[in-house]
């Protein structure tokens, strides 16, 4: 996995996601989920392109049932966008890269007005 992508867990979710200074895309996945395999490499590209401006965190729902449960995740892959500790967007299913970048750009535009 790319070094740019952090691993989220039940234990560190509040700290690295809700406590992040930059917007966070959280990829809820599991090893047995076929469509999740597509999202992984796409988000690695996104993480590289948005390095410093936003970050990507992967949460294995198999091992971290508390955070997935508290967010009402019932389908994977689900990618959730957090900003300032709040959930701002949820993208369900395998999606093209531009869906993720569009969601990030919208959030970033709100932070950094030109």
């Amino acid at each position: 996995m790319s070094e740019l992508i952090e691993t989220g867990t039940d234990a560190n979710f509040d700290e690295i996601v809700r406590g992040s200074d930059v917007p966070v895309l959280v990829d809820f996945w599991a090893p047995w989920c076929g469509p999740c395999r597509m999202v992984g490499p796409v988000l690695e590209e996104v993480a590289a392109e948005y390095a410093g401006k936003a970050k990507v965190v992967k949460v294995n729902v198999d091992e971290n049932t508390v955070v997935a449960g508290s967010m009402g995740i019932r389908s994977i892959p689900t990618v959730a966008l957090f900003h300032n500790g709040k959930l701002t967007d949820t993208l369900v299913g395998a999606r093209p890269k531009q869906d993720f970048t569009a969601a990030l750009d919208e959030t970033l535009a709100g932070i950094l007005p030109n």
Binding site: G34, P35, D62, I73, R74, S75, I76, A94, R95
Partner: protein, 312 residues
């Protein structure tokens, strides 16, 4: 170098058994071949569990394992892979133009192997609760329904398989079918009928998904004969009513049947545009098997290569 010196001999659109087989045959015929995998590399088989009917595997292999092996084989023989999604194609003249997220690629021949995807009923409530209790993939999402109740909508093999798979997790599975007999194969129908966790809801259609802010809380079912309504408390609903071919990116440039499946010439994979071939589920509403997809993929690879030979 000819005018189309930069064009690939063959571009295969779609990373499932049809696409991988087409690429393997085209490459081995000496053609420069590029395969664009799309949104779901491996295709529908990546969402299945054990595959018991693909010849050559005496012991069941899982769908993802089978697809990884096919992809590795396509890579090993020399297929070039692009991990991208095709946005549109221009089939008005050769070389054909294929637009992907990262740019445009040209091809002397095209093989369409984009498969099919699960169909939804089209209810507004279905969309509202998608990912919050509404799903079309039991192997992806069954995990979230441990000791909960779920409904499966449909009556074919897919619905039967999803219902049986869900019994691994859910406490009770309702299989909702609009008729009083399943369309599924005899062996699957028997497995459903004999299963202690599956309750049949015959002569019922999904009228509306019911839920609140936290997601699905139930389904409203209707008897199509009497319009009688019945509500059932469930935590999830799995839609398994069939598939639709992935042809949107073609924008009507190839002939399809009424259901949207690409039309190919008899005993051939040739589509309505010369030099464009189609294989797998995108042109097959009847068999829809991994092995038939691979079979028509091989045909398309051979036919694309022969076409290039005739063109010189």
């Amino acid at each position: 170098m000819s005018d189309s010196g930069y064009a690939k001999d063959v571009i295969v659109i779609g990373g499932g058994p049809a696409g991988y087989a087409a690429a393997i045959y085209a490459v081995r015929a000496g053609r420069s071949t590029l395969l664009i995998e799309g949104l779901q590399p491996g295709g529908q088989l990546t969402t299945t569990t054990e595959v018991e009917n693909y010849p050559g595997f005496a012991n069941p292999i899982t769908g993802p394992e089978l697809m990884t092996a096919m992809k590795e084989q396509a890579l090993r023989v020399g297929t070039e892979f692009v991990n991208d999604v095709v946005e549109s194609v221009d089939l008005s003249k050769r070389p054909f133009k294929v637009r992907v997220g990262k740019g445009e690629i040209e091809a002397k021949t095209l093989i369409i192997a984009t498969g099919a995807e699960a169909k939804y009923l089209g209810l507004e409530s279905e969309q509202t609760f998608r990912g919050r209790g509404v799903s079309a993939c039991a192997t992806c999402d069954g995990f979230f329904y441990r000791d909960l109740k779920v409904a499966v909508i449909g009556g074919g093999d897919t619905a039967a398989e999803e219902a049986i798979y869900l019994t691994n997790h859910a406490s009770e599975v309702f299989l909702v079918h609009r008729r009083d007999e399943l369309r599924a194969s005899k062996i699957m129908s028997r497995r459903v009928a004999d299963h202690p966790k599956i309750t049949m809801k015959w002569n019922r259609v999904l009228d509306e998904v019911v839920g609140n802010d936290s997601g699905v809380t139930g389904v409203r079912l209707k008897d199509p004969r009497t319009d009688e309504i019945e509500e059932l408390a469930t935590d999830g609903v799995f839609i398994a009513i069939g598939h639709q071919p992935n042809t949107n990116f073609l924008d009507g440039q190839l002939k399809t049947d009424d259901a949207g499946y690409l039309i190919t010439a008899p005993d051939s994979t040739q589509t309505s545009v010369e030099g464009v071939f189609a294989s797998g589920d995108v042109q097959d509403s009847v068999y829809r098997q991994a092995v038939t997809a691979a079979g028509t993929g091989a045909m398309a690879g051979i036919e694309a290569s022969r076409f290039l030979e005739e063109q010189g």
